[in-house]
Symmetry: C2
Subunit: 230 residues, 2 copies
DNA sequence: GAATTCCAAACTGCATACAATTCTGACAAG
DNA sequence: CTTGTCAGAATTGTATGCAGTTTGGAATTC
């Protein structure tokens, strides 16, 4: 009887996904009327959802001109990766002093259970889902919900680029596992040993390795976004 | 002729300030009609602004029940302080390798010029403004606008507690300067020496010293918010 | 041909109206 | 005294309409 989810929430979820996937091209202007028809809602709830996404950095807004997709530039993506370093390293540090042995063991266990799938999966979407899931679980060990919240936001905006990055890893190293689970394992070992320096160093180098590919990944992103096929 | 600022923006700014100052009491339900009259706008732009603030963590939202002020608990405030550590330490680290000598000198200079005012000021609002300004400038030196954005958001939500904290410092140490500018100076010196370890360590201990007071500050916050006078 | 002006069409900004849901408190039953 | 129920009041959810602004391109000028 009671509607569990409002129209705004539904529209918001749909838009977040679209914005994350760059269904709106970088800097593209968004037509409210057209979009409201596609989403089956009037402009009022649509605009409420759009405003949330502006506040989260997925979209931008200009007075009397409406909503636009966020830009896509190497420096923007670098900023996001650097912010991830900030958030995830601190989360790792906190996990070292705060997480229970059981919770750490559970994360290590998760890594072990996932490994076969990790090794065999070739679908970048699946790989990314597992990767994000690991990082999210780790952030949970920090016990800090703000860090988790920020990380979730950063992940949404960086997702498209990480997907490209994973695709490249797969294509470059045929036969080798694209997801370097060893880096994840190293981080968890550091936490298990309650060695904050080792754990954060591992996390930092893990993320920064990906960051270095950002410029190239952005270039590929543009070619994908503006070329009709595949 | 052209309106520079939309109604939504004006309402948003007003609401952000109100939310930061806990003009809405923690967990208090917000009445849209009443608020729209106070702010001189209809519910449509009001709700758009409210949605932005939900996305930024200043407010919460429940379906069919409307908007509520964010809660105020020690653990929530601790989380915010810890997130500040994450963001500001990484910003400091980046500043060490990235900021120009001139920019670092300018920050040191700002600190010197502010010192007399810092020492003499007793108004917590003024002290906090200077403190926030220093931290914002430092974040600028990182060259990372995401870190700046996140810091700005955290500062807004933690502001009320920091204000109380400064008031306590002033009242406890009569005659002594409440703003310990020495900590700030130490951070800048670390950056000037391009010594990331020293600079981030100074930043970390600076913020964590404040964090330790959080529980007590929250207690005071509640007594202020729910007692008529003072 | 390039730059400028101007107008109609398209779009955004916002108030309002009404439907849907939740809240309040009076009353009844246990 | 507590719990349950129910109708009316209050509040939120969303569609719609219109005013104000921007946009795109035809007409005009240099």
């Amino acid at each position: 009887m009671a509607k569990r989810e409002s129209n705004v929430d539904r529209v918001y979820e749909a838009l977040r996904r679209m914005a994350a996937d760059f269904a709106f091209k970088p800097d593209q202007r968004i037509n409210e009327s057209a979009l409201s028809e596609v989403l089956g809602a009037s402009r009022t709830p649509l605009r409420e959802a759009l405003n949330r996404l502006v506040a989260e950095g997925f979209l931008t807004f200009q007075n009397n001109r409406g909503f636009f997709c966020r830009p896509l530039t190497p420096s923007y993506i670098m900023d996001l990766y650097e912010a991830r370093v900030a958030v995830e390293c601190e989360a790792t540090r906190l996990a070292c002093t705060r997480a229970s042995d059981e919770d750490i063991a559970a994360l290590a266990d998760y890594l072990n259970r996932m490994e076969p799938e990790y090794q065999s999966a070739t679908d970048p979407e699946a790989l990314l889902a597992m990767d994000e899931s690991f990082h999210a679980r780790l952030a949970q060990l920090s016990g800090n919900s703000e860090l988790q919240r920020i990380l979730n936001n950063l992940n949404g905006r960086i997702r498209y680029i990480r997907l490209i990055d994973l695709k490249r890893l797969r294509d470059r190293a045929r036969g080798k596992a694209p997801g370097d689970i060893s880096a994840h394992r190293q981080i968890v070992e550091g936490i298990a040993a309650r060695n904050a320096e080792a754990a954060t160093a591992a996390m930092r180098s893990h993320i920064e390795k990906r960051r270095e590919e950002a410029t190239e990944a952005v270039r590929i992103a543009f070619s994908q976004l503006y070329v009709p096929d595949e």
